[in-house]
């Protein structure tokens, strides 16, 4: 966390609960930096989150109104708050299990309705807080506490899912692309629509140690090397995408 952003943090909350090497700190930093550059007042912000490590990014750290909800239901809570008080700038920050597995129905319906909110999915491809169980985003073959011989099922492509549901601004970036990530958050925050960003954030504790990453740094390095742009993805074609993660904007949204 950069010192100049400390003013956005709740006084007396001095440390984050995240493990060493967790990507969520970078994401937290980039959300606040995007807000800082847009000069968004914290008084107008409402941060909503569900259950899991990522849900602790805004709550209690951000010095704004925060609503830490039930597992999976953050978008439904956010919908009620936004619809009743449209003056609130609503940002949902939660994890992949929370937003896309238990909460998947709320995600697609909020996208379909085009409710004005920004949903940031901190995607670590695992259930981190509960001990590293397989998620709907875990790659095929990856080891987890409940897939000790490798995950059998295809993971969601969250951007395609939200696009299919009608999301107007849909993007994916990794915490290893902090500048692009911040710019995408800025774009999303200025749109009066449902905006979604899938943010790849490594979990060395639960995912890395089970999947042969020697260190958090090694995990970050692999993630960085796996990320390719939309253009590169198109050049490689479907067969060339093995082991790659396509990042960029998939739907460009509208003001």
């Amino acid at each position: 966390m950069a010192r100049d952003l400390e003013r956005y943090l709740r006084p007396n909350v001095k440390s984050t609960p995240f493990c060493p090497g967790c990507g969520h700190g970078i994401l937290m930093n980039q959300v606040l930096r995007a807000m800082d550059e847009l000069k968004l007042p914290m008084e107008k912000m409402l941060f909503v989150s569900g259950i899991g490590c990522a849900a602790w990014i805004p709550s209690p750290h951000f010095n704004a109104d925060t609503l830490h909800t039930l597992h999976g239901r953050s978008i439904a809570f956010a919908t009620g708050a936004k619809m009743f008080n449209p003056g609130l700038k609503v940002v949902v920050i939660s994890g992949d299990g929370d937003l896309t597995s238990i909460g998947g129905n709320h995600l697609i319906h909020a996208a379909r309705r085009d409710i004005e909110m920004t949903v940031i999915c901190a995607n670590n491809m695992i259930y981190g807080m509960t001990g590293g169980q397989v998620a709907s985003t875990t790659p095929v073959g990856a080891l987890s506490a409940t897939t000790t011989e490798g995950s059998l099922y295809r993971p969601f492509d969250l951007c395609k899912l939200v696009q299919g549901a009608g999301g107007t601004f849909v993007a994916r970036y990794s915490v290893t692309q902090p500048v692009s990530l911040k710019d995408a958050i800025k774009k999303a925050l200025t749109m009066k629509h449902f905006t979604f960003i899938d943010v790849l954030s490594p979990c060395p504790t639960q995912y890395g140690r089970r999947n042969r990453y020697d260190s958090p740094a090694a995990m970050l390095k692999t993630l960085m090397e796996s990320c390719i742009t939309v253009d590169e993805g198109e050049r490689l074609g479907p067969e060339g995408l093995e082991g790659k993660i396509v990042t960029g904007e998939f739907s460009h949204g509208r003001a």
Partner: protein
């Protein structure tokens, strides 16, 4: 006290409403300006009417993707400042239970109208039942309190829905109006008075929103967007909302207060009605639609000289325990007809010293007054 008198939203006078329509109008009169719901028989008429009526009062209506989303968005709207409600029936009420616990623990005022149908499971969707009272009290995990009201008429679908909003705001607690299909779909005359009292949320800038100096207090409740930088969480929290997930003192303090704030105010919350109790030897205890049959039966028996009485429960939770401690010492027998397997009779047995006889009927039909007359004749 933040009770204040306002003009009725509907022009005063008589109306020929269904119970579901009456509940809708009661909600609007009390200040409900956010409704989220999902279609379910036999409560859907509430959602259909309020979808239209909220537009006329600049309120917000959302038909959500399921009942879970409905109740969660109601809680979100409540924290954004709304008096908010949803309506449902058994299966939907089941889906809402986790969020009801969240609402109780975060001390969120909200109202649910449950138009009960014959359960369990999908049961008989169009038939009457009254089997959700234990679920209303115990449906979510952990220890918490709610308030349950039991209307017996179209008039009370209106009146008790107003009361439900006032109680929810006053005590910062989920309040349930537990109608039954029979009253939801019944049409009868009801009156709208020119004035009504409504309770507005207590606000106090900078005050802790989740704690009070008293161990049974109700804290003031700010809304999002007021600059309070609220921390609302369903995890155990201190008086300012900071998570305290491994602090035994914080947990005990919070759980104890959200229970005590209701239980210590039972006298103010609980309402019952008594008929012919003076010299009664056998007293019928009934609530909801069954109380109509019970009153008819008791009146008939009185005409014959039978010393029968009736206690009608308008409040089911918190349970009127002292009413039954006293009644149990005064009368020989308590007879409890219910459209479930004896959910309230079991509670009465905990407190009444006398014989408590449960009569259960779960066939999807209302209890015939003549059945009650026949049973009472055997007891008098």
């Amino acid at each position: 006290m933040a009770l204040r008198e306002i003009d009725s939203l509907l022009p005063p006078g008589s109306y020929y409403f269904s119970g579901n329509e009456a509940a809708t109008e009661g909600a609007l009169a009390a200040g409900c300006r956010y409704y989220a719901g999902y279609p379910i028989t036999p409560s859907s008429e509430i959602m259909e009417r309020i979808a239209v009526r909220l537009k006329e009062v600049s309120g917000v209506f959302m038909q959500m993707e399921d009942e879970i989303a409905s109740i969660c968005s109601v809680i979100g709207a409540a924290w954004a400042g709304a008096k908010a409600m949803t309506a449902t029936s058994g299966p939907g009420f089941s889906l809402m239970q986790e969020a009801i616990g969240y609402g109780a623990f975060t001390e969120t005022p909200l109202v649910i109208v449950d138009v009960q149908r014959a359960g369990p499971g999908t049961g008989q969707a169009t038939r009457v039942g009254s089997g959700d009272h234990m679920q209303a009290k115990w449906g979510s995990h952990g220890d918490y309190q709610v308030i349950e009201l039991s209307p017996w008429s179209v008039q009370e679908m209106y009146d008790l829905t107003i009361d439900a909003f006032n109680l929810a705001e006053q005590y910062r607690v989920p309040v349930f109006v537990m109608g039954e299909e029979a009253v939801g779909h019944l049409r009868e005359r009801m009156d709208v008075k020119p004035r009504l009292s409504i309770f507005d949320r207590v606000k106090k800038k900078g005050a802790p929103p989740f704690g009070t100096p008293e161990d049974d207090g109700v804290p003031p409740m700010p809304s999002f967007g007021e600059g309070e930088k609220l921390l609302v969480t369903g995890s155990t929290h201190d008086e300012f909302g900071i998570r305290k997930t491994d602090d035994p003192v914080a947990h005990e303090k919070l759980v104890s207060r959200i229970n005590k704030k209701i239980l210590n105010r039972r006298e103010q919350i609980i309402r019952t009605e008594a008929y012919h109790l003076e010299d009664a030897t056998c007293v019928v205890v009934a609530y909801g639609f069954t109380a109509r049959s019970a009153l008819y039966a008791v009146n008939k028996l009185r005409e014959e000289g039978g010393r029968a009485g009736l206690v009608r429960l308008k409040t089911i939770w918190p349970f009127p325990d002292t009413v039954f401690q006293e009644l149990g010492n005064k009368v020989g027998k308590i007879f409890v007809p219910e459209m479930n397997m004896g959910q309230v009779a079991g509670e009465i047995m905990k407190y009444a010293e006398c014989d408590v006889l449960s009569y259960v009927q779960t066939n999807g039909e209302i209890i015939d007054p003549h059945t009650i007359i026949e049973k009472l004749r055997g007891l008098l």
